[in-house]
Homo-oligomer: 349 residues x 2
Amino acid sequence: MSQRRVGIRATIHDVAAQAGVSKSLVSLVLRDQPYVSAEKREAVLRAVDELSYRPNSVARSLASRHTHTIGVLVLDLHNPVFVEILDGLHSGADDPHLTTLLVSAGGDSERERRLVLSLLDLQVDGLVLVGHRLTTETVTQVMAEKPVVVVTRRDVRRRGLDTVCNDDRAGAGLAVAHLVELGHRNIWHLDGGRSAVAQDRRLGYQDAMQTHGLGAHTTVVGAGFSDDAGWQAAGAVLDAGERPTALFVANDFSALGAVARLEQAGVRVPADISVVGYDGMALAAMRRIDLTTVAQPLHAMGLLAARMLSARIQDPTRRARNTVLRPALIARSSSAGPPATADARSRER
Amino acid sequence: MSQRRVGIRATIHDVAAQAGVSKSLVSLVLRDQPYVSAEKREAVLRAVDELSYRPNSVARSLASRHTHTIGVLVLDLHNPVFVEILDGLHSGADDPHLTTLLVSAGGDSERERRLVLSLLDLQVDGLVLVGHRLTTETVTQVMAEKPVVVVTRRDVRRRGLDTVCNDDRAGAGLAVAHLVELGHRNIWHLDGGRSAVAQDRRLGYQDAMQTHGLGAHTTVVGAGFSDDAGWQAAGAVLDAGERPTALFVANDFSALGAVARLEQAGVRVPADISVVGYDGMALAAMRRIDLTTVAQPLHAMGLLAARMLSARIQDPTRRARNTVLRPALIARSSSAGPPATADARSRER
DNA sequence: CTGCAGTGTTGGAGCGTTCCATGACACGCG
DNA sequence: CGCGTGTCATGGAACGCTCCAACACTGCAG
């Protein structure tokens, strides 16, 4: 009979005593090993049930040297884009015995560093960084210890680092192509700032404009990735002498801010100015919003990251892959043909 | 000198060897204990630095019997309301050595159960449930093992369970009072369904209507908590023979759906119909949306939950508290006085 | 009858910490 | 001088598991 006190979890010893076998045998049964007689197996399982025993995974991890746990750092949970990537991640980590530990510092680099290190101290088997603001030094340090997959950012490219991201340049091209197809020529870009992602989208825009023979119309207005940034930048557009007939904005949030500013000034979207965002967050599909956007395959990105990580955990010598997925344009009601007059006007030049 | 292989983390033994002391002494230094000579302390710290040693928290947890880690279950990361509660939680868990482990199953009861149990197996020191779909049985089981604080839901009331929520009935009252003050009389409610929260908001609405002498106008339309539910319900409102001048909707998402439906039908918000939501999610403040809403003190709720949990961890015998916080109405541009005609019409009766 | 392969079970040595009991040493006091 | 007290350092027993070596037993081939 077990001698455990109430309120204290049963241990493998308690189970062994209850079942009248050795703790080694209990361990064998629990880990589903062969060479255990049916009777003893049953006795053990009965004891497990009676004591409602659940193995202490801390002890298990210490002994077995792996935790069946992966750590996930998320840049910002307020941005639904990351949450959608997370969904994909979970469906990719299909092993039911795998726990994923989520951690977020809202973009604070130093806090992110601390969190990732404590994930490492918890002996996670691997890490997924869904956007991050870590220094390359920290990333290198982390990589030296455990497999790492980076999602979203393409800027950290080093040997042994798996990455998953979308092709921002091509995506920007899709946005421009969509607007050109609708008849727009005077298309401006509200950009995202200094980050690598923002830069790619900006370059993609500039390239595409050139390709479509609209180099002369190429205009970049400094903005950012927030609602507010889009609002401000749209204000600057309104104040400009000349007006575009369409705006390609750095991301969906920013695009929403821009639309709000335009509408507040009595400029109708899309009747007067079309707006295209980037990211394809689910929110953009809400009826009240209904924003045309370049959608990243968020779910697929998360799923792929999970698969790459588990492959890497299984085989640490595996060659690193940098996977770039293709985004897709989703046309909604924030984009339409240019107003006749504006169209005519822009053709005059 | 240490003999550790490359790529393998240094252990306390390596540090001890490097510093020429016993592992016990290293442990003392690391845990900042007194009665260690300055020289040895320094030697240990130097060795720690040279080997870039970080304690294995798995081993530490096993030996010390606590992990300085709290588990957090979140109902749905897609709902910014929960994310904002999480922010509060983090600022309440100020101890920098405390790690919070986040876990979410998107409302799948069975997956939630598994996740919470594995959090327990990881020996977290306590748990916060930010909305959940666990059975009362599971909650009881979890409570038996570790301190638990439940945020948002008030339906699970049992001895020893700390809870934090807002006063949904009073909040509904605020919404009605706001609309009445603006001159509305014919105020309808799009409800949230069967959940306890939805029920409270519905009852609060009904009570308030009665109190304001508008019992005759009391009308509840079945909806839900999603964008789509609001859209559908608003459709039903439009199809009704009579029309309200204001809508109090179960939550912000649903309210957004309702606004979209109304606008699509050419009904202006707030000129023709005012709309008030519930929750106070940051998104509702976005310029494009600008929804009048009953704001829960989300940050405070999270903060309080963290504080209650750490108090509970420190003193497990502490009496459980059920804290109910007061929501506040935030008036934005989705509510205004009723249209003159509608106002007059409703006064005729 | 011996030996060996396969099957079933066990004790005990880790895993990397914490923490307790113990001891060594120095100092001051009666 | 002996003794208590405070300071500093250490070995070793946990913590709850995994995993290996060893052993016992059975059955069968040689």
